[in-house]
Symmetry: C2
Subunit: 362 residues, 2 copies
């Protein structure tokens, strides 16, 4: 029996996407072999590859100015690869600091070139409970780019209004909320997202790149690290992670089948409102630290009155068939990650459990 999976990532995937993979794992479309045994240059795999790109293009309404890329190494590699491509000697890049992942991105950029903090909401105890307001941004109008982390898995914050960065290229790490709702891709020069939250298994990264921006990237870095190399070769310069891309294709096909990204947003908003509603209703018992305007619809963090009650909550939820609720190791408390594959019913089950837990322990 399948459990309800609130993992922060790698996260649960839609059951139809997994069933499709299982059913054809030994024999992909009558070809007599698994999709992972096909050549990446053969027509069978190429049709999967191109279908994944066209589904994503359709679902997000990606304009012709932009191109979808499949890369590897996860978001952590992009923390280095972005400045390698876009931060030439003498230039500087602006970083908006909203948590552990933007800190890591900034630290890697400093090893490549000149990076500066254009805003931070860090508290004296190192936590973050909100993203910056527009009037807090101290932007360098000559910056090579501005880097933003759209959603923060650890602190449970999310940007709900994109920062206005004028004419400076905006680069976004959307690993943990990519495709959670429709978006205007044209605002961004470069978007990157590890697949393992909303899109597929770990081991593949999706980028949506403005073509003229990546074409201007540095050419004196190794060829494999230039985004232009992958753009010119339709992400087939070297052997891509074919099985991982195939699974993303399955997830994207599911997303289309259920009604597209507008439907996903509707479900995600309903899920968030159910969970935050329960937290607000029992604010004396459940403590949700994130400021209202910055609350994440992907990762909902909260604490119970004592660490012992946190542990009891996690253990009893597990008995009730819900896993992955333990907070990030340095944070403690509870984290419910409610990515696209988590259903409204799953969240209703969690909310009922929370109500019952208050009655018994409040």
């Amino acid at each position: 029996m399948r459990v309800i999976n609130f993992n922060a990532g790698p996260a649960g995937l839609p059951l139809p996407a997994l069933e499709r993979a299982r059913d054809e794992l030994l024999d992909f479309q009558g070809s007599g072999m698994s999709v992972m045994e096909h050549s990446h240059r053969g027509k069978e795999y190429e049709s999967v590859h191109n279908e994944a790109i066209s589904l994503l293009t359709e679902l997000l309404g990606i304009p012709d100015t932009h191109q979808v890329l499949f890369l590897t190494g996860g978001a952590s590699q992009q923390f280095a690869q972005v400045p390698m491509n876009f931060l030439p000697p003498g230039a500087s890049a602006d970083y908006l600091m909203t948590g552990v992942w933007s800190e890591k991105a900034y630290e890697e950029a400093k090893l490549v070139g000149q990076a500066r903090i254009a805003a931070t909401t860090v508290l004296p105890d190192k936590r973050y409970v909100r993203v910056p307001r527009q009037d807090e941004l101290q932007l360098d109008p000559k910056a090579a780019y501005v880097h933003v982390t759209s959603n923060n898995t650890i602190y449970g914050t999310q940007w709900h209004r994109w920062p206005d960065v004028g004419n400076v290229p905006l680069v976004a790490d959307m690993s943990s909320d990519f495709m959670w709702k429709p978006m205007d891709v044209s605002r961004f020069a470069f978007i990157y997202a590890g697949a393992q939250k909303n899109l597929g298994p770990s081991g593949v990264l999706i980028a949506v790149a403005r073509k003229d921006f990546i074409a201007r990237g540095r050419k004196d870095i190794p060829k494999i690290f230039r985004y232009s190399t992958h753009a010119e070769n339709n992400s087939l310069y070297n052997t891509p992670p074919t099985l991982a891309i195939y699974l993303c294709r399955n997830v994207l096909a599911w997303a289309k089948q259920v009604g597209g990204v507008a439907r996903l947003e509707q479900w995600n908003r309903e899920k968030g409102e159910l969970l935050y509603g329960a937290l607000d209703k029992h604010a004396g018992f459940y403590h949700a630290p994130v400021e209202r305007e910055s609350r994440s619809y992907m990762n909902v963090v909260f604490k119970l009155p004592t660490p012992e009650l946190d542990d009891t909550f996690v253990a009893e939820a597990k008995k009730a068939g819900m896993v992955g609720l333990k907070g990030y190791r340095t944070m403690g408390g509870i984290r419910a990650s409610i990515y696209n594959a988590v259903t409204v019913d799953n969240v209703r089950t969690l909310v009922s459990f929370m109500e019952e837990f208050v009655r018994k322990n409040g």
Copy 2:
């Protein structure tokens, strides 16, 4: 029905490894979720991760001086990452040129630092039909490392006696013949191999690194690109490609179950002798360009009297249930890749087909 798969990579995998993946794709060991939906920090995935490492360590007899790493980006990324780690300013690295892949490795190294060609067997028409002899190596005793490509998928050559490089660290790209036979790992400072030939699906790379060598690697490069980062974190610094590593674990478990790497070598030698035996027997019809001492036991390349006969051969083989025999796009002819998952019986079937083809067309 499964076909006989002679793909050069991604290549066929052992059926038991795939069946195991299929059977538990929706529910890994009764956990109620797929292995790809588990957290990389949870005990379920960690046991898979550590089992893959311990199986490989056992199968190759990897000594305590060395460590297994799981990386991403394929061998093409290592072409850049190796010099980033081991080629500091002022130093030089030696490259042994035996084909397209060593050329690519050399080109990337030149973008990072100073690289020199210490030997090449390239012909005036750009092909390679053998690897260099020891007396042809013009080694720099002060080189930071010597880089060798152990097997050449495109030209079908293979090193059968490692180059003697004295005290200079030896770095090897073993992507296409890793684990084809037992080996003395201690000869190498750094071995890397994309999984998609002998080990698993594309999307994960296995490295076997001498611990003191990678510890001395450069620290002024981005953290994600330092081998020491991944060594210190047991390849869990960032989210690894968990599903790909799980599949490698299944393949390694299969290798152990069938009798270990000595058994794989026995099968591989038998397969090679069957195929090269048929080519030699009908040398007037099948032209095998590689010199005898450099013949690859992984990729067997040959040509028929005319390109039209090559095409007929590929088409009729396909009708007989054998795929992946078309030569590399720039090479033409036939290439039979006979990695570990290809059975002796599979090769017998191909050899019978070749005999019959000569009778009909010779």
